[in-house]
Structures are given as C-alpha cells and as structure tokens.
Symmetry: C2
DNA sequence: TTCAGTATTTTGTAATGCAAAGCAATCTAT
DNA sequence: ATAGATTGCTTTGCATTACAAAATACTGAA
C-alpha cells in the first residue's frame, strides 16, 4: 500500500548500512570515526588547509586542529605551512597514512561497484534515475559529494534554492 | 558513462542531506545528536530498558546511562524501574520530551512523503524497486529500520548471511 | 543458601565539539 | 610606510560522548 513508508524504510536501511560499515572500518584501522573521516577526506581531496578541511567535514576549526594533533602524533598526517601565505597550514596525508587506508578491508563502494556493474544497463539507468529523484526530493542535489560511501560527511553547499539549513559560504580554492 | 560513479555520488548526497538535517534539528531543539537520537528512538519504540536502548543505538550501556542522566535532568525522560524485574530500568519519554520533538521543524520525512506522494504511481514503484536493489547490494536489507530519516542510527541485526560487521545478538523483547 | 548470570550504574580515561581568546601573517586604506 | 581590519590557525576552558572494567543490585536455579 504505502509505498512512501517502504521507501523510507529502505533509505534508513541504506544509511544504517553505511554507518555500520564506518564503525567497522573504525575498529579495523584503530582510528576513531572523526579521525577516519579526516583521513578519507584528505585521501580524496589531497592536502587541504585546516579551514578547508573543517568546512569539508562540517566541523569547527578548533575541532579539526585537535583531531590533526592526534593524527600527526600517529604519523598519519603531516602539517606543512603554505609558502605563499604563511598563515595557512596544509594537512598532508603521509605515506603511512595512505597505506593504512589502502590496507583497510574492502570498502563498501567496492562491493557496490562490483555488483552494480554486473547489472543490466537498463537496471543501472533505473537506479541512477531513482536516486536522482530521491536526492532531489531531499534537496541534496546541491551537495558536493565524493563518490565514496565509507564515511559520513563531506560538506559544501552550492546554489541557492532548496532547504536552508545548509548555508556555508562559497569556497575559494587556492592555497 | 560510468553510472556506478553517478550512483555513488547520489547516495553520498542523500546520506549527507540527512546528516545535515540532523545537525539542523540538533541546533533547533538544543539537544546534542546522541540526545536527539535517544529521544527519537524512544518516540518510535516507546519506553525501553537501558540495555535495549543501547542495542538499538549501537552504543555501550554506560554511554546511554550518561546520556539519560542529562535528558532526565532536562525533564525530557523519566526512569522507571520495572515491577516484574527490579534490575531493569525503563526509559520513558516525558510529555515535555514528546512535545519538544513535535515542535521541531518539519522533519525530512515529512518533506519526503509529501513530494513522494505527488508522484505518479509508476514512479513510486520505480523508486522503491531501485532502493530495494541498492539496499540489497549493500547487504542492508537485514537491518531493522524505522520509517524515519531524521537521525542516523537504529540498530539490530536479524538473519545470517551477508556482511559480517553486524553481529549484535538477537533481542528478546519483554520488560 | 549459594552461586552464576543479568541489568544498570560508577569510575576512570580518552576523544569530540565548540566558543572565545590569543597570535601571527596578510591586506587595505590611508 | 603603517595603523587597523581581516584571515587562518592554535590555545583554553568546558560540556558531552564513548567505552572498558569494577561495583552494585536483583533474579533464578541448584
């Protein structure tokens, strides 16, 4: 009958699955979730200033500073001052840090991609279309998101328009 | 071309949107995210023992105890010892607690349901089918999920089978 | 009664998370 | 040039999470 209930339950299942996978990864790597999120964000985006990192992760700068302190102590991240603007500090993942992520158990998106690509072309299209629909309904199509499921937050708003509880500023990318 | 990348980006957008909405709700209600999650869990499930609550939220019992301490101090939750088994303590949302949730801004699922029900029947079916597919791929179809998006975690594993990083015990429901 | 098991709280420690204050570098307008 | 505003990060102080291990309280069975 009520397809909207069905859809909501399925969405919750999906979100929950990624959440549980995150916690699993966290245990495997010995990092806390915020630390893991930080590493993943750096892996995807490359070196970032602390401010950009904080914006990406939707956290206060002070919070990111203390997370980086611990990651640096573990030699997973290195801080490097920008040459062009010495106020800025770049957080760079170390080789050891990247290695840790690589050695982590098969990521959820690996599983997803493998099974997704086994599907018929029309099935793939149907799923993408449906997800687009849902994303639009939730006002999520504005959000800049990396193609990875593992950890639960990249940030950034683009356009105007839809739900207003996302009002971060535009970002200028230049270190 | 690469539809799997598209699908992953869309999924991340969706997950991210619910996360941002959670943080928004958190600010509006003046509760932290774990506190909000606790209240929502109680709203959905009704009074629960501390142990059940912890299992639902995928947290340690000790953690839930301290969260409840603060919610109780705010008069949003009341503790009540079970009569039949005096070891057990039931966490009951107070009227004030339920009121707080009700006065919260329009929930994400309200938006979702409203727009979803405006769609054609075949579109609804397509979306549900696609979500089922995705849920299955992620091994999420086992997860017991309430039909609500607002806050990011209800727990519980059912069957055997798929991804093994969800190994909570079976739950016996009787206070 | 005694004892193993169950349910919760207490204790102790580490990590988040943030606002506000502090500092250093840069920019802007004089 | 240079005072004042701004930007970018860290420090400080505080409240909250989060969890393991120990302590407490109750139950049910031998």
């Amino acid at each position: 009958m009520d397809k909207s209930q069905d859809a909501l339950v399925l969405l919750r299942q999906i979100i929950r699955a990624t959440d549980l996978h995150d916690k699993h990864l966290s245990r495997m790597t010995g990092l806390t979730m915020p630390q893991l999120l930080t590493m993943q964000t750096l892996r995807i985006n490359g070196p970032l200033t602390i401010g950009m990192l904080a914006k990406e992760m939707n956290l206060a700068q002070a919070t990111v500073t203390s997370i980086l302190d611990r990651l640096e102590r573990k030699n997973l991240v290195r801080r490097e001052r920008s040459h062009t603007d010495k106020r800025k500090v770049l957080a760079c993942p170390t080789d050891e840090g990247l290695e840790l992520l690589k050695s982590a158990p098969a990521t959820l998106q690996d599983t997803f991609i493998r099974q997704f690509e086994d599907m018929h072309d029309w099935e793939q299209s149907m799923i993408v279309a449906a997800l687009e629909h849902v994303s639009h309904i939730l006002g999520a199509h504005h959000l800049d998101a990396a193609p990875m499921l593992d950890i639960g937050a990249l940030d950034r708003t683009n356009e105007s328009g839809i739900p207003d509880y996302l009002k971060s500023e535009q970002n200028s990318l230049k270190n």
